[in-house]
Each structure stands twice: as structure tokens, then as C-alpha cells.
């Protein structure tokens, strides 16, 4: 049995299948009516309607948290980052001119905060990088399924290795990869969010996948 199979996180997909993370958080499924509703709430919030902004928060908080978690892989940090993004959006809402969707504008704020967070961590590493295996096992992918001690240790090793591999990626490659692989955004959406060309996103994604494949080769 390979390391991969014993880790209980294996999901085999046939070639060519579209991989979207378990919660199906892709905005591809968001209808135009939902986006229109976002714009109405933004307009109301810009006129001073605080409840409208609260509803925007309610709509986007889970996705914002999950994106932040994908970047920092820590619950408390993800909570702080996503809240900070909402706060920035609230303060700067008057500057939102509607040229992009609220979703794109807000998640751009969030991603930039996540990248700043990573840069700060690189300058002053904290204990969050020294998580014990037990801490990692507490945040397992499937907490309700019991694991043998060997599987728990293995899951911890894989998680540490993945963390290191993702940390080693340049910021833009990591961003493109997380938004595509974890959040299931389309190349077009990622390009809009990163304010770059679709071709550039494809290059970032390709390089990130190549690097990760080499870093995690031992788990194949």
C-alpha cells in the first residue's frame, strides 16, 4: 500500500476531470442574480446602510475565511485575516467604483493581505511554523474518521511537507495555485483578481504545479 493510499486523503480522479475542493466553493456557480444582489447591497452600504454591509459579510465570510485558511493554514490567523479584509472593505467602500464585481474587489483585498501576512512571517518567523504533529492531527481533513497511529503520523508528515512546499513557492505562483486548486476559481477569475493576463496565470499555475510535484514526489 502506498503512502498516498494509507493517508486517507486520496481522491483519485480520472485524467481531465475538473478538480474542485470538497466544499465546491467556486464562484463559477454564482448566478448573475446573486452578483446583482451584491451590487445592490454595496450601493446601499455606500449610502450608509450598515445592515447592507452586514449582509455582504454574511454572504462572503465563509469563503473569505477558507481562502485565508488556504494561505495561512491556521484557523486563528485565517479569522484575523478575513476580518481585516472586511474591515478594509468597509473603510474603503466609498472608493469602490463598480468597475469590477464586489467579489473580485474584495477578494483582491483579501489575497493581498494574505500575501502580506506571508511576507511578515518570512521576516519574523513565529511559532506557528513549529506546529507539533499533534496540533496538525487536530486539524485533520476528516476529523470524524478515526485513524491509526501510523496514519496519524503519516498525515502529519505529509501536512508538514506540503506546508513547506507551498511556502517555497513565489507569491504569485502560490496565489494562482491556491485560487485554482483549493478554491476552484477559473483562470479568467484568477486573472481578474490578480490583475494580470490569463496567459500569465497559466504560466504561474504550471510552474507551481511542477514545483509541488517535485517537492512531493516521495508521496507518489
Amino acid at each position: 500500500m502506498s503512502l498516498l493510499e494509507s493517508a486517507e486523503t486520496t481522491r483519485q480522479f480520472p485524467p481531465g476531470s475538473v478538480f474542485i475542493s470538497g466544499a465546491t466553493r467556486s464562484l463559477q456557480h454564482m448566478s448573475s442574480s446573486v452578483r446583482a444582489r451584491d451590487e445592490e447591497l454595496v450601493a446601499a452600504a455606500q449610502r450608509g446602510n450598515h445592515q447592507a454591509f452586514e449582509e455582504l459579510v454574511e454572504r462572503h465570510k465563509q469563503k473569505a475565511f477558507h481562502i485565508a485558511f488556504d494561505f495561512c493554514r491556521d484557523r486563528e490567523d485565517a479569522k484575523d485575516l478575513s476580518q481585516e479584509a472586511f474591515l478594509k472593505a468597509f473603510v474603503n467602500l466609498k472608493n469602490f467604483d463598480g468597475r469590477s464585481s464586489f467579489y473580485t474587489w474584495f477578494y483582491r483585498i483579501l489575497v493581498n493581505l494574505c500575501l502580506d501576512y506571508k511576507r511578515r512571517l518570512k521576516r519574523s518567523p513565529t511559532d506557528s511554523f513549529d506546529e507539533t504533529l499533534e496540533t496538525q492531527m487536530e486539524r485533520s481533513h476528516e476529523p470524524n474518521r478515526p485513524r491509526s497511529p501510523d496514519q496519524q503520523v503519516l498525515a502529519g508528515q505529509i501536512s508538514q511537507k506540503v506546508d513547506s512546499a507551498l511556502q517555497a513557492l513565489p507569491a504569485k505562483q502560490r496565489t494562482a495555485f491556491i485560487l485554482k486548486n483549493h478554491q476552484g476559481l477559473s483562470i479568467r477569475e484568477i486573472a481578474e483578481l490578480m490583475q494580470t493576463a490569463e496567459g500569465t496565470v497559466k504560466v504561474h499555475l504550471h510552474r507551481a504545479v511542477t514545483a509541488l510535484r517535485h517537492s512531493l514526489a516521495e508521496f507518489v
Binding site: 498516498l4 493517508a7 486523503t9 486520496t10 481522491r11 483519485q12 480522479f13 480520472p14 485524467p15 481531465g16 476531470s17 475538473v18 478538480f19 475542493s21 470538497g22 466544499a23 450598515h50 452586514e54 459579510v57 465570510k61 475565511f65 477558507h66 485558511f69 488556504d70 493554514r73 484557523r75 485565517a78 479569522k79 476580518q83 472586511f86 474591515l87 468597509f90 473603510v91 486539524r139 481533513h141 505529509i158 501536512s159 506540503v162 512546499a165 507551498l166 495555485f177 485554482k180 486548486n181 483549493h182 477559473s186 483562470i187 497559466k202 504560466v203 499555475l205 504550471h206 504545479v209 511542477t210 509541488l212 510535484r213 517535485h214 512531493l216 514526489a217 516521495e218 508521496f219 507518489v220
Partner: protein, 171 residues
């Protein structure tokens, strides 16, 4: 366990397309072409299999409990309320420094100064009767001039005085 050295290398010029193919982002013509290639290329097929196995490993999900979200909402509301309170006084203070208001205030100030120095100058002068000291000050120059005028009288009559002083004038 494959390890780094045992990874199958896909066809170099197709590697990016393979990644896009894995994510379902390859446009139709290229996808059809790649599918045909895959039917005969072990390396590229192996590469796709690696991606399907490895990439899900990079996802670390977290589904916090309901209590987390209740705390989340409460904390965020508090942060927003604090930001809202902080933003009032700078907004009011800063309202005076908007460019158009600064220009307007500047123009008003210039006009006020100009009016004060020109039209208003006479208006501001007092119309009250001069006090005693002021009357004295007005008279003094006149008084001083009296001596001068007296002197002038002597000079005017100087020829008469000389005539009177002469021997023929006295008689």
C-alpha cells in the same frame, strides 16, 4: 515510492497543457489533440495520474463549529463599530481641507482683506468729536505758525521800520 528521480517526465512542450487539462481549463481543440496524444504516451498519462494523486494532498480544509462563527460575527461587528467611530472626527476635521473648500475660504479671505484696506478704511475711522487733547494738537501747529506770521509781518514792514529809523523818518 517513486521519489524525485523516478518521476516520469512528460513531453516538455505539453506540460502546461497537461496542467490545464487536469483542471479542465484546456480549450476544446487543444483538449481533443491532447486526448489523442495521451492514448499513446505513457509519460504524459503518468504525469496526469501524479497530479490527480498529489494535488488533493495540498488542500487542508477546516470547518469551524457554529460557535466560531458566532464569535467571528461579534468580533467583526466590534471592529467595524470602532472603525466607524474613529472615522467621524477625522472626516469632520478633514472636511475643511477639501480642495474646493480651501480655495473658497482663501478667496473669501483675500476679498475681505482687500475690502478692509480700500473701501472700508474710511468707514472705520471714528466720527466722534476730538477730545481736548486732540483739539490742542490741532491748534498747536496754528499757534506755532503765529510766530511765523508775526515774523512775516515784521519783514513786510521792514522798509517802514528802516524809514522810521532814518534821520528823515524820525522827524
Amino acid at each position: 515510492m517513486a521519489g524525485h528521480d523516478q518521476l516520469l517526465s512528460p513531453c516538455t512542450d505539453l506540460e502546461e497543457n497537461l496542467v490545464l487539462f487536469h483542471y479542465g481549463e484546456l480549450p476544446a481543440p487543444e483538449r481533443f489533440s491532447l486526448e489523442q496524444h495521451l492514448s499513446g504516451c505513457v509519460n504524459c498519462t503518468g504525469y496526469l495520474k501524479d497530479l490527480s494523486a498529489l494535488l488533493p494532498l495540498t488542500i487542508k480544509s477546516d470547518e469551524p463549529p457554529e460557535t466560531f462563527w458566532m464569535d467571528y460575527n461579534r468580533e467583526l461587528r466590534h471592529k467595524i463599530a470602532s472603525a466607524r467611530d474613529k472615522k467621524w472626527w477625522p472626516v469632520k476635521f478633514g472636511a475643511f481641507f477639501q480642495p474646493r473648500l480651501v480655495t473658497a475660504f482663501g478667496a473669501i479671505a483675500v476679498i475681505a482683506v482687500a475690502l478692509t484696506l480700500t473701501v472700508g478704511k474710511g468707514l472705520w475711522q471714528s466720527h466722534e468729536l476730538p477730545g481736548d487733547d486732540e483739539a490742542l494738537m490741532e491748534v498747536l501747529p496754528v499757534a506755532e505758525n503765529l510766530e511765523f506770521f508775526k515774523t512775516m509781518d515784521v519783514l513786510d514792514n521792514l522798509d517802514v521800520l528802516e524809514f522810521m529809523a532814518s534821520p528823515g523818518g524820525a522827524a
